[in-house]
């Protein structure tokens, strides 16, 4: 089978799809693309299923030698790419011939770019998903990021069914490059004082270096009255407050149970934009009501053709 040879792995390049929800009761985090919107866009551009696996490339991208033909597409963070030295654009299918080298540079905007491939990157399914969960070394390419010398198989056969209607990059950009994150109440909002809730909503926070797929630790105002809570299930996008009053946003490789109170939860429609935050970015939170949150989610879904979405169900 033709392969791709990894010349340089990049900072953190992992195989991701839409994750493996439904195994949380075994302690298994859904994981999946940090910016699922961009993953979907890459797949749509190539006529793939929405959940086909792509390479998630973080801050500084990899260098890959294709040993066979393929059609690829780039989406997500603005990460300059060249194919045998020729610049190639994001947001459109690119034909790659055997022997060509695709080189990804540093990001110019955002944090994570996605390299989708027609047919999807082949990787074994672990509990129904190809996604890498780096922390527990599950899924993807041996449960880890790509390194120099790795060889990834290319998908077999040509592809069909290329879509005619795809959102443009500038239509997707406002959804993935954000500095204000909309929130609705978290599990413990009511346990915080009014003053602390106002402080939280009226402050600017800075993303610290402790920012990865597990969570984003923020620097900013310290809240004063942090309530004690029992260990409970937590979800992607929950903003939890440590005993020292500082905020952390739980993210795609999140731990599933937390013992810190959650002051707010980022709306589902803004989760993809978390995947584009990087250290030193400044962000704010804005409270909206649930109806508005769902309105945003519907608007976002309309970027894509309705038949692109797979039916979800809870695995056994």
């Amino acid at each position: 089978m033709p392969e791709v040879e990894v010349i340089r792995g990049g900072l953190q390049t992992t195989i991701q799809d839409l994750g493996r929800p439904g195994f949380e009761h075994l302690g298994i985090s859904p994981s999946g693309a940090a910016d699922p919107l961009s993953l979907r866009l890459g797949n749509l551009l190539l006529g793939n299923r929405e959940a086909a696996a792509a390479l998630e490339m973080t801050l500084s991208g990899p260098s890959l030698r294709f040993l066979g033909r393929a059609t690829i597409a780039l989406a997500g963070a603005e990460m300059a790419a060249t194919l045998d030295g020729q610049a190639c654009a994001h947001g459109q299918p690119i034909k790659v011939e055997a022997g060509q080298i695709l080189e990804l540079a540093q990001v110019r905007r955002g944090c994570r770019a996605y390299l989708a491939i027609a047919g999807g990157w082949p990787a074994p399914l672990t509990l129904g998903s190809c996604s890498t969960h780096c922390e527990s070394r599950i899924g993807g390419f041996f449960g880890r990021g790509l390194r120099k010398g790795d060889r990834l198989p290319l998908p077999p056969g040509p592809v069909s069914d290329v879509r005619l209607s795809c959102p443009r990059l500038d239509e997707v950009a406002p959804w993935i490059f954000r500095s204000t994150f909309r929130v609705t109440p978290g599990a413990h909002s009511h346990l915080f004082s009014h003053a602390d809730r106002q402080r939280f909503l009226n402050s600017e926070f800075t993303v610290t270096d402790r920012c990865n797929r597990l969570g984003l630790r923020l620097e900013g105002v310290a809240l004063e009255g942090v309530p004690a809570v029992a260990s409970m299930g937590v979800s992607n996008g929950s903003v939890q407050i440590s005993s020292n009053g500082k905020a952390t946003i739980l993210f795609v490789e999140q731990q599933l149970t937390g013992g810190y109170p959650q002051i707010a939860t980022i709306i589902t429609a803004d989760l993809a934009a978390l995947g584009q935050l990087r250290p030193r970015d400044r962000i704010r939170f804005a409270a909206i009501d649930r109806e508005q949150a769902l309105e945003e989610l519907r608007a976002q879904a309309q970027l894509f053709p309705a038949d692109f979405f797979q039916k979800e169900r809870l695995p056994p």
């Binding site: 929800p21 439904g22 195994f23 949380e24 009761h25 075994l26 302690g27 298994i28 985090s29 859904p30 672990t126 509990l127 922390e135 527990s136 070394r137 599950i138 609705t184 109440p185 978290g186 599990a187 402790r210 597990l214 969570g215 004690a228 029992a230 260990s231 409970m232 299930g233 937590v234 979800s235 996008g237 929950s238 440590s242 005993s243 020292n244 500082k246 731990q255 599933l256 149970t257 013992g259 810190y260 959650q262 939860t265 980022i266 709306i267 589902t268 649930r290 949150a293 769902l294 989610l297 519907r298 879904a301 979800e312 169900r313 809870l314």
Partner: protein, 225 residues
């Protein structure tokens, strides 16, 4: 006769419903309700995350209304079928030596105990697996003696080594893989807790019993090999 619902519920974000067990009710109800929800699988439900006295139901907000989900849960009768088999009991080796127990002295000092007392109390107790969560194979073990009750660290450690044994509140647990964590670390176990090639992949299952057997650092290294 009016039967009070065992749960109170509220939204946690736009796509999760938190069910909290009413005070005084046994945690077992959560385990049974959890199993019943997984069997019923209402359309639009994505996953169920257990907590010490709660279940977090994650759902697709465009396909399922939280009110409908709550009504669905109320209609579920937690299975009352009695399981006559005695619960499986695990014996898990733990090394409590200082190199593996960075918080042991601090815990002893805070509780006014000798280090040896902490070790004895921790290893003489029998624990029950309440639920799994946090990380693959991490089991929340209830039954920690009240005299060892401590709070979590004010800020989580960025890297807790795999096998670390932690305590917090009235729970103890073993970190299956290296991960951030906020529990106080009082030992380390060489036991493997999670293996995708096994079915089920987790060593511990809800309802099982666990005891700890103290071992030396030399034994730890031997087992680890």
């Amino acid at each position: 006769m009016k039967v009070e619902k065992p749960w109170t519920s509220r939204l946690a974000g736009d796509s999760a419903l938190l069910l909290e067990l009413r005070p005084g009710l046994p945690r077992e109800i959560a385990t049974k309700t959890h199993a019943s929800i997984l069997r019923a699988r209402p359309v639009g439900l994505r996953s169920v995350l257990p907590g010490s006295r709660s279940l977090l139901l994650k759902f697709d907000p465009l396909r399922l209304e939280p009110h409908a989900l709550a009504a669905h849960v109320d209609a579920i009768e937690a299975s009352t079928a009695h399981d006559h088999r005695p619960p499986r009991q695990h014996s898990i080796p733990i090394c409590y030596e200082a190199t593996f127990a960075p918080d042991l002295e601090e815990v002893a000092a805070e509780k006014g105990l000798k280090v040896a007392d902490v070790i004895e109390m921790h290893s003489m107790s029998t624990y029950r697996v309440d639920f799994l969560g946090f990380m693959p194979g991490f089991a929340y073990l209830s039954g920690l003696p009240e005299s060892l009750r401590v709070s979590r660290r004010s800020e989580a450690r960025t890297n807790v080594p795999a096998g670390s044994v932690g305590i917090a509140d009235l729970m103890t647990g073993i970190y299956p893989v290296e991960t951030p964590g906020g529990w106080r670390l009082i030992g380390r176990s060489p036991q493997r807790l999670f293996d995708l090639d096994q079915d089920p992949p987790t060593l511990f299952q809800p309802g099982e019993l666990v005891r700890f057997a103290p071992i030396s650092a030399a034994e730890f290294r031997r087992i680890k090999r």
